[in-house]
Amino acid sequence: MAAVCGNADVFTGRVPLRNPSPSFPRVFTTQAASVRAPGPVISTEMASTAGTLDSPVKQIQIEGMVVLKIIKHYQEEGQGSEVVQGVLLGLVVEDRLEITNCFPFPQHTEDDADFDEVQYQMEMMRSLRHVNIDHLHVGWYQSTYYGSFVSRALLDSQFSYQHAIEESVVLIYDPIKTGQGSLSLKAYRLTPKLMEICKEKDFTPEGLKKANIGFEHMFEEVPIVIRNSHLINVLMWELEDKSTVADKHELLNLSSSNHLEKSLQLLMDRVDDMSQDIVKFNTYSRNLSKQQQQKHQYLQRRQQENAQRQSRGEPQLPEEDINKMFKPPQPPPRMDTLLIAGQVNNYCQNVKEFTSQNLGKLFMAEALQGHN
């Protein structure tokens, strides 16, 4: 079926309507999900994959058009550190998520505060359905600025997506890296562990400890395959052949240190945040241990007193609510720290990648120099 679909795709740019009944368009509400649940192929397949694997999606296949659309969206709407977002449409085939189309969200401004996002999505998807385009909601995409995307907002929305539509992914597009010559598009999903935690909304240190989750286990990256029609592939090869050497040398350009500086700057900010959080946590744990000690002392005293009273034959002191006397200090939420750690990790990866690339280029240049 997938092959057929692919073929249809190539020639018509259309996906055959899989769900002819006029069902409700798919949005990330539980209701929508339940409506969609009795979908044909997928549910059984998913059940089978979920048993053996962590996630129902093992691979993502993106249409070249979707990538182009995302890039175009950012080019036209996004500037600097501003972020553009949009909805991904497609369907799940076995353990592969095929993303066949997307549409952007309009930029938010202060003026249209009463803009109804849900309404917009519904309208959009309904309209797309009318023209026979894939209209199943499978995730969302977001642009990023120097790889800073790991945030609470992303976590929250991805959680609600994944909660409603299990296979949904978030696609992160880095326009700056792309601008440097290497397309940077990454798909992420929340790990089941994180989903559990988010479901329980237990972000206390104990909760996270129990869940045994680290920043490494928060997101899982899903491999992406970009699929183009054969004709496009042919065209690409032809273009490759035709392109001059100078165009290719563009890739050897040592990009400015500006990129590194920016990354470092952002990294530093995060490290600062992290420091603050640690200090906060430190204070908390100190307070906690102090209180524990006090509590302990109090209990001991009470015990002694009771023992004495018993020996004197007096009635024992009533047991008071010890928690009332020693109110445990408010534990600081640890989720933010985790996110920051994740982000820092992300930055580091970025920098590492960037520098290793640059180093490679340098060695290449050296070699070339020597050869000449």
């Binding site: 470092l264 530093m268 490290v271 992290m274 946590f281 430190n282 744990s285």
Partner: protein
């Protein structure tokens, strides 16, 4: 006098007495005061009398109200009044102590208690009372019981003999006003002893007689007229009887009753008696003083006094009976006057007049300089005493008098070499008589002059500095200085070293803050422009620097009290600094080690210290020692309380923190306006110094995360400037400096220069310096140099090499200067560059870390702290105890590690050269 014409109403007699209180200050007093012996006794008496009068009148009035309230059974009112009465009685305690409890008071207490007991037992009546009254009744009853315990004996005495008192009371109610003045009179005569005791004692026979004569003369003068047409006049005229009775009984309280009894029952008789008595006295008087030629008519004598007999003629009346005026008599008299000193009722103005009169008499009778000096001492002392309040300042006329007097005293002392004065001369060993031996007089001229100086300061403090009056007062400074100079001359020959030190300090205090224009001009090589003779006079005088030097060195050598030396040093430094002798001033400051222990000094010395430091800073600035200037001014300026610290005004915000008393003390410490240091100048000097230091420093350490501030205040000003939403052209001095700093940051010295030196700033600040032009030149130069440095720091990364010619053109500095500045920067490792001699260029080495490297360094530091924090958390997990110590070690290890890394980096840098 009105008293004798009075109709006897109480208020009037009081008015007249209060009028008498005032009159001594009126212009006509001179005459009256001089007549003290003959006439003024009456006056003094009245002055005292009014106090009694008031007290007792108050009491009787209250008693009357209470009785009224008793009659209408208004207990609430009764209670209220009773409480007032108790208070009033307490107030008049000293009078009561003297005289015993007045019987009318006792009577009231007894009656009230009886009355209350009566009411208390009257259950019926009590029920009828309203709540308020009932409550008041019980309270009052308890109160009076308690209160009466103190007066038990008196009350029992009264109860034994209520008749008499009752009579008395009737009498009292009949002639209420009379009674009050009566009772007062009684005390008056006692009190008379206080003020006029001197006279009484001195001439035991004559004085009372004289007074009696006066009274009687007045009385009889009136008697013919007032006796028959105005009975009330008699009612208010128990003075005679009062005084008589007090003469007889010496003011026993019982006498009051006797007098009243007498009066009621035999008023006619007493009147007769009085008249006869008066006549008798008059006769005595006539017999006694025929030689004064006033004896023909009693009225005549009276009128003459009134009419203003000329001063000289009256004066001998001090020694009324024409006693031979000799030294013992005068001394005795002097002591008498002195005894009244400081007492409550004494009229201080009158005392001064008395002393003056005495001095005149002494001079007239040629009693010799000794006694004259002694009297003069006393005159000056009493001039100072005139204001009982320490904070109040002398009135101008008093001040003039004081100056004159001191001058006269000094005249005498200079004229006569035979006078020894000193504090240590005992009263007994004084030698005032003209004899072969030199005069010995007790008294200290130095103290008087010091006090005068303080008074002068006080006057200046209390005059509005922007008024003509201040200028007028300031003119007296010359006189004060003159006096101090004369005293200095005198003491140099006669005084002990200690005294010389003290007077030297006074002299220094009047010299140190004045800029010596003539020396200044001379040093500039200008011919002394002698516009007036005065200028010429001045230019002939010694240089103030030489004077200061001489005086201060004497004090350094001879003084044994630390305070005088400290003050002298500070003044000396101040003077040096004021005259731009920076090195002397600085060395003296450092040698004296005053910075270490000045906080133990008293506030005035601390203020002087602050003033000196500020002056030192300003001096350093004028000399172009920017760093020294900044350091000297830092303490004063950073506190933000420069005004307060320099004693040039109180800060408003402190108002809540201090009470009125502290404020008074602080006000007394204020420096007079003519000695002030211009605060705006001070701030400007400070800010400009800070700018010249801070801007290059900021440029040099742009990326240093741990950069410290040189001047917080300057940064504050910069921030204030940045916060402005709209930046207009600078108006105030501060705005100018901020604008200039911004220009300097860019290395734009021309703009910076135009902001620092322009019309506005000239008129506000720079023109206040004596050598304006020189200071301005110095400033321009500094701005050029520092701008060059800033420029190199900021933009060196842009250049591979710069030609020194270009730099010298850009900053309008000579090449050698540019060369030296750059060399210095290279040596100090501030600038990574080398000089290329043949081409005269500066070649930059790119060893400054790039911004990326800087950022990496910063990140490393941040990560270090992150790790440290993390380890703390870990420590806590490991266990609360013990972990702390480990952590500290770890922390230090971390730091060491970081330091090593940085050191390594440095080494790399250096290897790169």
């Amino acid at each position: 006098m009105s008293r004798f014409f009075a109709t006897g109403s109480d208020s009037e007699s009081e008015e007249s007495s209060s009028a008498d209180e005032i009159t001594p200050k009126a212009p006509g007093t001179t005459l009256k005061q001089s007549l003290l012996l003959s006439d003024d006794e009456e006056d003094t008496k009245r002055v005292v009398r009014s106090a009694k009068d008031k007290r007792f009148e108050e009491l009787t009035n209250l008693i009357k109200t209470i009785r009224n309230a008793m009659k209408i059974r208004d207990m609430a009112k009764c209670l209220e009044e009773f409480e007032q009465l108790c208070r009033a009685f307490l107030k008049s305690k000293n009078i009561v102590d003297k005289e015993g409890v007045p019987s009318f008071y006792i009577r009231l207490l007894a009656d009230l208690e009886d009355y209350l007991n009566l009411l208390w037992e009257d259950k019926e009546g009590k029920k009828k009372m309203n709540k308020n009254n009932a409550k008041a009744l019980s309270t009052l009853r308890q109160k009076i019981r308690k209160y009466n315990r103190d007066y038990e004996t008196e009350i029992t005495a009264y109860k034994e003999n209520p008749q008499e008192s009752a009579d008395e009371e009737e009498e009292k109610e009949a002639g209420d006003s009379g009674s009050s003045s009566d009772s007062d009179d009684d005390d008056d005569d006692d009190d008379d002893g206080v003020s006029a005791k001197a006279f009484l004692k001195k001439k035991p026979e004559s004085a009372p007689d004289a007074s009696k004569f006066l009274k009687s003369s007045k009385g009889s003068g009136e008697s013919s007229s007032s006796e028959d047409d105005d009975e009330g006049g008699w009612g208010s005229d128990p003075v005679g009887s009062g005084s008589e009775s007090s003469d007889e009984d010496q003011g026993k309280s019982a006498s009051l009753a006797v007098v009243f009894l007498k009066k009621t029952h035999e008023s006619e008789k007493s009147a007769d008696k009085k008249v006869s008595k008066r006549k008798k006295i008059k006769k005595e008087h006539l017999e006694e003083e025929p030689e004064e030629g006033e004896g023909e008519e009693v009225e005549g004598g009276w009128e003459k006094v009134k009419g203003g007999v000329c001063l000289v003629k009256e004066k001998p009346k001090m020694f009324a009976k024409g006693t031979e005026i000799n030294i013992p008599v005068v001394v005795k008299k002097l002591n008498e006057i002195l005894q009244a000193r400081g007492k409550k009722g004494t009229d201080r103005a009158a005392q001064i007049e008395l002393f003056n009169a005495l001095a005149a008499i002494t001079a007239e009778n040629n009693l010799g300089q000794g006694i004259l000096v002694k009297i003069k001492f006393n005159i000056i002392a009493s001039l100072y005493d005139y204001n009982p309040n320490l904070a109040a300042f002398m009135k101008p006329d008093m001040w003039k008098k004081c100056l004159d007097c001191i001058n006269e005293l000094l005249d005498i002392l200079f004229e006569d070499n035979n006078i020894f004065i000193g504090e240590n001369i005992a009263e007994d060993s004084e030698n005032l008589a003209i004899s072969e031996q030199p005069f010995r007089v007790r008294g200290c001229i130095l103290t008087l002059v010091e006090r005068m100086d303080e008074e002068f300061t006080k006057i200046m403090q209390n005059t509005d500095p922007h008024s003509q009056e201040y200028v007028d007062n300031l003119k007296d400074e010359g006189k004060v200085c003159n006096i101090i100079d004369r005293l200095l001359d005198y003491l140099e020959t006669k005084g002990s070293t200690e005294e010389i030190c003290r007077v030297y300090l006074r002299r220094i205090m009047h010299t140190y803050y004045k800029f010596d224009y003539k020396t200044h001009r001379r040093s500039l090589g200008l011919p002394a422009e002698s516009k007036s003779e005065q200028d010429q006079d001045e230019s002939e005088g010694e240089d103030s620097a030489i004077i200061m030097d001489r005086l201060c060195k004497f004090i350094y050598a001879k003084d044994r009290t630390d305070r005088i030396r400290t003050c002298a040093i500070l003044c000396h430094i101040y003077h040096h600094a004021l005259h731009s002798r920076w090195y002397q001033a600085r060395d003296l400051m450092l040698m004296s080690h005053l910075q270490d222990n000045i906080q133990h000094a008293d506030p005035p010395v601390q203020i002087l210290y602050n003033r000196t430091m500020v002056q030192l800073g300003i001096c350093a600035f004028r000399q172009g020692m920017i760093k020294d200037a900044h350091n000297a001014l830092l303490d004063i300026q950073s506190s933000g309380r420069a005004k307060e610290l320099l004693g040039q005004g109180l800060l408003m915000r402190n108002m809540q923190e201090r009470n009125a008393e502290q404020e008074k003390i602080e006000k007394r410490r204020q420096v007079p306006f003519h000695m002030h240091i211009n605060l705006e100048l001070l701030e400007c000097v400070y800010l400009v110094s800070a700018m010249l230091l801070e801007i290059p420093y900021m440029a040099a350490h742009e990326f240093d995360a741990r950069r410290r501030m040189i001047s917080k205040q300057f940064h504050h000003q910069l921030r204030v400037g940045e916060r402005q939403p709209l930046l207009g052209p600078p108006e105030s001095m501060r705005e100018h400096v901020v604008a200039a700093s911004k220009a300097m940051k860019m290395g734009d010295w021309r703009t910076c220069h135009s902001f620092i030196i322009n019309e506005k700033m000239n008129s506000k600040v720079w023109d206040l310096f004596p050598e304006t032009q020189r200071v301005r030149e110095m400033l321009v130069r500094k701005i050029q140099e520092e701008s060059l440095r800033t420029y190199l720091f900021t933009y060196s990364s842009v250049y591979d090499s710069i030609s020194m010619h270009t730099l010298s053109e850009m900053f309008q500095l000579e090449i050698p200067t540019v060369h030296s500045i750059i060399s210095k920067m290279i040596i100090n490792e501030e600038l990574m560059a080398s000089l290329d001699q043949p081409t005269q260029t500066v070649v930059m080495h790119r060893t400054e870390p790039t911004s990326l490297q800087n950022m990496a360094l910063q990140l490393a530091e941040k990560l270090g702290s992150l790790v440290e924090n993390n380890e703390r958390v870990f420590d806590l997990k490991q266990g609360v105890y013990g972990g702390y110590f480990n952590r500290d070690q770890k922390g230090s290890y971390q730091q060491k590690h970081g330091g090593y890394q940085r050191g390594g980096y440095r080494n790399q840098n250096q290897n790169n050269y």
